[in-house]
Symmetry: C2
Subunit: 396 residues, 2 copies
């Protein structure tokens, strides 16, 4: 087992924590760029509460709203201009993964002379890996990406139809201020998508990691189990604060690097989905819900780690093993897919009116972004172009 772990983000989690935003912000700056999405925070009072706390602490602010669900590099460029023209010294992201991811690339881009798209890994020869970033405070209003406490960001380019990522130590937020009451008003569909996103973050490392990590494996299954239990409750009753808390805690755990540290797993489902939503601009988790079970079935029947799939089936879905590992594993995937359906996620491309016309292109683009020395997508086992197309076809 080889572990390399580092996460210096300070996590402050709990009901009512939004009121403390100003007291944390003043540790890092005097003038904040507030990055947010479609403006729901202006309707539900979150923006006003945040601003009141900042004013109490003597922090000025400039707004950068309108960050798209799949945040665009153009929005990042706009944010960088706002930082520079207003001399902001701090970024506060209030929103979902989009606002948080955009903030990271704005924060690094503002300290970089080149174009921020150079930071996003899209198969270019000279990637710019940022080594510095403005201080960032994340205030998630959605439990999904785990972006609040990690150094990753996913950005799309609407001109080139590419969607990819940057991940490096400089991008860790200083503080993740997580107030689960902010998620009480998240609508049903986004609640379900968030739960799906969290689960897939956990299954990626669980299934694609190395062997010999028994504690991490159980941590992953425990987190998935609780995310499903409380996720279903939050989906059915959005006002259930205990459920919202546990889902948000799962979201943080799923992608802050701790649960899966040392597993060194690949993220093939994410890689394929990024390409799909780069082309079709669909909700990330909707794409994951379609691709993840399809990837699982393919992997189970093509040399995947059957023991892990059997544990997944038995621990989470109480599937009794009759000795046939493939059958046991597939039965678990069926139940997992049924759960995704129950929380409102699509499970076939046809539900999103996506046909098979671009499946080959999706495979090519994904492999352009990331491939191993044999030209395959890193996964366990690695996936060829034909494999990726087969997975996509099985989810038509």
């Amino acid at each position: 087992m080889q572990i390399s772990f580092y996460n210096p983000t300070r996590l402050v989690f709990g009901k009512g924590k939004l009121k403390e935003l100003g007291s944390y912000a003043k540790e890092y700056g005097k003038k904040a760029l507030i990055v947010y999405g479609g403006g729901s925070i202006k309707k539900n009072g979150v923006f006003d509460s945040a601003v009141a706390s900042l004013k109490d602490a003597g922090i000025e602010f400039v707004e950068c709203g309108g960050i798209e669900p799949n945040p665009k590099i153009d929005s990042v460029r706009r944010g960088i201009e706002l930082v520079r023209s207003n001399n902001c010294d701090l970024i506060i992201a209030i929103g979902g993964g989009s606002a948080m991811d955009a903030s990271k690339v704005i924060g690094a881009g503002a300290l970089y002379d080149g174009d921020p798209w150079n930071m996003i890994f899209h198969g270019q020869d000279n990637v710019y890996i940022p080594t510095a970033c403005m201080p960032i405070i994340t205030v998630p209003t959605l439990a999904a990406t785990g972006s609040e406490m990690n150094p990753g960001a996913v950005i799309s380019n609407s001109e080139t139809k590419e969607k990819s990522f940057v991940q490096t130590d400089a991008l860790f937020p200083k503080v993740a201020l997580v107030d689960p009451t902010l998620t009480l008003s998240v609508p049903k569909n986004q609640t379900g998508y968030g739960v799906c996103d969290i689960i897939v973050h956990l299954t990626e490392s669980y299934f694609n990691g190395v062997d010999g990590t028994p504690i991490q494996d159980e941590f992953a299954l425990t987190t998935i189990k609780n995310c499903m239990k409380y996720g279903l409750r939050a989906y059915k009753d959005g006002a259930d604060l205990e459920a919202r808390e546990q889902v948000q805690w799962s979201s943080i755990l799923a992608l802050n690097g701790f649960v899966n540290c040392g597993t060194n797993g690949a993220f093939p489902v994410h890689m394929i989905e990024h390409t799909v939503s780069g082309i079709y601009d669909i909700t990330h988790a909707a794409g994951l819900a379609i691709i993840n079970p399809a990837w699982m079935r393919f992997t189970i029947t093509h040399g995947g780690n059957l023991d892990k799939f059997v544990s997944f089936s038995s621990y989470l879905f109480d599937v009794k093993s009759d000795g046939d590992k493939v059958k046991t594993a597939l039965a678990g995937v069926d139940k997992y897919e049924a759960f995704l359906k129950e929380i409102g996620c699509p499970i076939r491309f046809s539900e999103l009116s996506i046909d098979d016309s671009k499946f080959a292109e999706i495979a090519d683009t994904t492999l352009k972004v990331i491939h191993d020395e044999n030209g395959n997508l890193p996964a366990r086992p690695a996936l060829s172009k034909a494999d990726i197309v087969a997975i996509l076809n099985s989810a038509k």
Copy 2:
């Protein structure tokens, strides 16, 4: 659930990592104080390997050996003098919890004009909480304390017979360089003690924390389960590297703040044991092995959280519940105590030739160090002087 979590230590874990010591050290300084214990690292080659790596990186060093098993404030004072007289700019702790804990207080003490005993919380009016510390790299040679990746230190004062702690953000090591091969030569008794120490770190938060933390509770039980499984293997066959790895990983998890974050649990067994080993200078984990089951039995029969004890019994020891929670809980404690015996730990004070003559003094001293607004020891439920004496008496 209210979480406040911060841990900026970089964890580098794996077989052979000791060779990378120099490359990490040169990021932080040019002249290191190497802090170590009784000298076993000079006999088993660890010191030579560490020094070779430092030399390759151009790092000079000064030695501060002879740190005692319960590290004394006098040794800390000696370390501070060595730092000052040699202009060291970095501390490297190679050893168990003693060397690592002493290093933290040396590192903070070297930047402080007063006496370092002022930092150790022993009931004094004006505690000095350090806000700065020299950079520290920890290289544990024992899986036990978790000190490698946390900001706590326990120091003893042989003049006053006090033993207590300091814990504050400034004391986080920069890097925890954890090479499980360094623990292959740990003798049987210390291996067993280490396993006991790890388990007690986990049971303290699990039993004394708040309710409503289902994920953390399962993380704790999972870690205990694996620590017991691999701990027994390591105890029986010290050369079993996989077992050593998993025990060391458990040790880190048990006390780096992540598994128990948001549980806000008290550490009553540790508090009592610190007083005991302050007076008798016994091995910390030997004291824990005696006090922990005694504390559990007392708590089970005096208003403790029975549901958690039942889960402990059923998950870890496969005790079948017949509906009588107290009986189920006590049966688990019996099996836990049998396990401690199996890994060579004492389970009664008489095994260490400690009689009851100082039990009242132990209770008084413990309550002097820490007590709630009613004068009781923080725990779930809180413990009066009479309660502490009753626990100690039950372990005679």
